[in-house]
């Protein structure tokens, strides 16, 4: 069991890395893109905006002074 847990942990670290919000945000942005693509509204801009927001939020969280 501990080996399985170790393997799961390794896969998580490899794919998700230090900031889980990035992985969650990317999955959510892809989902929204897919939904909007089915409408008449163009959807190409959603991922670039999501990338900018995710990067900003992720690095700002590290840069913010701890109280």
């Amino acid at each position: 069991m501990s080996r399985l847990a170790g393997l799961a942990r390794g896969v998580w670290d490899f794919i998700v890395g230090d900031d889980w919000r990035i992985a969650l945000g990317v999955v959510a942005a892809l989902g929204v893109t897919a939904i909007v693509s089915d409408t008449s509204v163009s959807a190409w801009w959603i991922l670039p905006v999501a990338v900018a927001v995710l990067l900003l939020v992720s690095v700002s969280a590290v840069a913010r002074p701890r109280r």
Binding site: L47, P48, V59
Partner: protein, 252 residues
């Protein structure tokens, strides 16, 4: 060769060179301190495992329909690329320690030296450290080669770029017989992060059903805009850090 293929080759080459430099540091430290034979067996075993993984995952990935492939690969590349870019931005802004190959080499040598004597036969320490180091760094190489290659239906081209990068690093490492500390790792990681994120954005959106204005030409806008945005973040974070340091100095 198209612009996308050149971007693919460049990204794979840079990513693989960085990972190879990191693996080389571990291998050199253990090999020079303990047993070259056991270290090289560890390297060969890791390479064999990576080859099996590539053979198993490659056909599975390339058999996916193009739309599904682009969503899966685009999403993974985006997550992976954003992690690389995030770390590179934080390092460039001075908020995260730079990867110091010489310091890592020294630490690895110290650990290897204090891990007990080699009692003849296979040295388990050298084997395990070399195996783990090459496997972990190599997994990232396999991931990048497969995702980029599968998406462009050119795994061979991606694999060739990876092989050239690894061969160059190994030759340089053997020639200087020391870790390649002068390689500008963070600059390379920054570039790779921008490329992986840009291609991930492009392919992910296409896979999810979006249509880019200008088709593949959109990459010529995505890449420089993302680079400019990332460099702006570095400048802003550096500016924020400076007053904090000044305030601490004044308080002290």
């Amino acid at each position: 060769m198209t612009g996308t293929q050149i971007g693919l080759e460049l990204s794979v080459f840079l990513a693989c060179a960085v990972e190879a430099v990191e693996a080389l540091t571990i291998v050199l430290a253990v090999g020079t301190t303990r047993s070259w034979r056991s270290t090289l067996i560890g390297v060969a075993s890791a390479l064999g495992t990576l080859a099996v993984l590539t053979a198993a995952l490659g056909p599975a990935l390339t058999s996916l329909p193009l739309g599904a492939l682009r969503v899966v690969v685009g999403g993974l590349l985006l997550i992976f690329g954003l992690q690389w870019l995030r770390k590179a931005i934080l390092r460039a802004a001075g908020l995260k320690e730079l990867h110091d190959e010489e310091a890592i080499f020294d630490r690895q040598r110290q650990s290897a030296g204090s891990a007990g004597l080699v009692a003849g036969g296979l040295d388990a320490y050298s084997f395990t450290v070399a195996f783990k180091g090459v496997l972990l760094e190599g997994l990232e190489v396999v991931f990048i080669v497969l995702t980029f290659g599968a998406n462009q239906h050119d795994v061979g081209l991606a694999a060739a770029a990876a092989a050239v990068a690894i061969a160059l690093v190994v030759v340089a490492g053997v020639a200087v017989h020391a870790p390649l500390a002068r390689v500008p790792e963070n600059t390379m990681k920054f570039a790779v992060g921008v490329m992986l994120t840009s291609f991930g954005t492009f392919w992910g959106a296409e896979g999810a059903g979006a249509h880019w204005p200008g088709g593949e030409g959109a990459l010529l806008v995505i890449i420089p805009v993302l680079l400019a945005f990332s460099l702006t973040l570095v400048a802003v974070l550096r500016g924020r850090k400076a007053p904090a340091v000044g305030q601490r100095a004044a308080a002290g």
